[in-house]
């Protein structure tokens, strides 16, 4: 239990560092959301309650990094993670596709204010697609990387 807890802490720290670097040091217009990818992967693994709790926490971190009002990202993360928890997703392919879809929804949500879109539909579609595509690629990389680590770990122990 203790080891698992430390593992989660380690993972949160790593993705927070990545997210911070992307927000502050890289000059990208659209920044992939490491937090969202991590939360969705956790939710797909079956850690729904933990994922919901972390949605709140990482949302606050995200607002610190992106200069949004505290609490707004938490709301979006909570909604996305809650809906994602109804899907049973196992393979890398399925996970990546679902991450693409939910990232798209997340970006559209972040552009909604009182039921109205802040940008025009065409522009929003373009940026949402780009954001989702970045997240999709990162999710594939993370999943392959994690599987490789697990495989090596199993090989060395058994």
């Amino acid at each position: 239990m203790n080891r698992k807890f430390l593992n989660f802490l380690e993972q949160i720290l790593i993705i927070s560092i990545f997210q911070y670097i992307f927000y502050n040091f890289l000059n990208f217009k659209i920044i992939p959301s490491f937090f969202l990818i991590y939360l969705l992967l956790l939710s797909f693994e079956g850690y729904t309650e933990l994922s919901l709790f972390l949605s709140f926490l990482l949302g606050v971190f995200n607002d610190f990094f992106s200069k949004e009002v505290l609490g707004t990202s938490s709301l979006r993360y909570l909604l996305i993670v809650y809906f994602s928890s109804f899907f049973v997703v196992k393979s890398i392919k399925e996970k990546s596709i679902f991450i693409f879809i939910f990232s798209f929804l997340y970006f559209v949500l972040s552009n909604l204010k009182k039921g109205e879109l802040i940008w025009s539909g065409k522009i929003l579609l373009k940026y949402s697609f780009l954001f989702s595509f970045y997240n999709f690629l990162i999710a594939i990389i993370i999943e392959i990387f994690v599987r490789e680590i697990k495989r090596k770990w199993e090989e060395s122990y058994f």
Partner: protein
């Protein structure tokens, strides 16, 4: 029984906390930041930069470019790139009213105040889908309308097909706007599209605010 709905319960509890934290941040931001600044010099570079920016703003008053204005700090933007809505830390208590104009320190147009709360206000920027402003081309004097929602650009409409507009021409607010006074710089012409079946040009304007940081803003009537 309740254990079955633990997911929903956790979800609702944290939704409630998120709303709470959002409301709290908007209402308390002014006080907390002032307190911190009085207590510690936590980041010298940031304070020096802020000082420089504020000096530039107050120079406007000394040079009598604009005399009656208020300075506010940006406390939130939606979305984080090309924000269509900006939240500032001044509200009714500081004399902010609906439809006041908001500029950058270089006097580039950001937008206008849309909603005023007691301690904060919401500003609709020129990137917002709702924005429609009567503008004038600096070089030819032709009048058109700019439309937001096309980040990172804004769309200028109703300029005649045979206009002599060039790339790089300045776009300013015209005299025909209900809320904006004339001559406020908005952006530069970036691309001109001549569609054969249209009487008007389609002009893409690159707003000045796309390339300047939004930390402090100037608000005036």
């Amino acid at each position: 029984m309740l254990w079955r709905f633990r997911k929903e319960i956790i979800f609702l509890i944290f939704i409630f906390f998120s709303f709470l934290i959002e409301k709290h941040t908007l209402n308390k931001k002014v006080d907390s930041k002032t307190k911190i600044k009085n207590q510690y010099f936590y980041n010298y570079e940031e304070i020096i930069e802020e000082n420089k920016r504020l000096r530039e703003i107050f120079n406007l008053k000394e040079k009598k470019i604009i005399t009656n204005f208020k300075v506010a700090e940006v406390i939130g933007v939606y979305p984080y790139i090309f924000p269509g809505e900006i939240i500032i830390n001044k509200g009714k208590e500081d004399g902010i009213k609906k439809n006041m104009i908001v500029f950058t320190k270089d006097l580039f147009l950001i937008g206008k105040v849309e909603e005023v709360m007691d301690r904060y206000s919401k500003v609709v920027s020129i990137f917002n889908n709702k924005t429609r402003i009567s503008v004038i081309l600096g070089s030819t004097g032709e009048i058109g309308i700019i439309e937001g929602g096309y980040a990172p650009f804004i769309l200028m409409k109703y300029i005649p097909y045979d206009s002599k507009v060039k790339i790089g021409d300045d776009v300013l607010t015209s005299n025909f706007s209900e809320y904006y006074f004339s001559g406020i710089k908005i952006g530069k012409v970036y691309k001109i599209i001549r569609e054969k079946d249209s009487l008007f040009l389609k002009i893409w304007v690159k707003p000045y605010i796309a390339s300047c940081g939004l930390k402090e803003v100037i608000i005036c009537e």
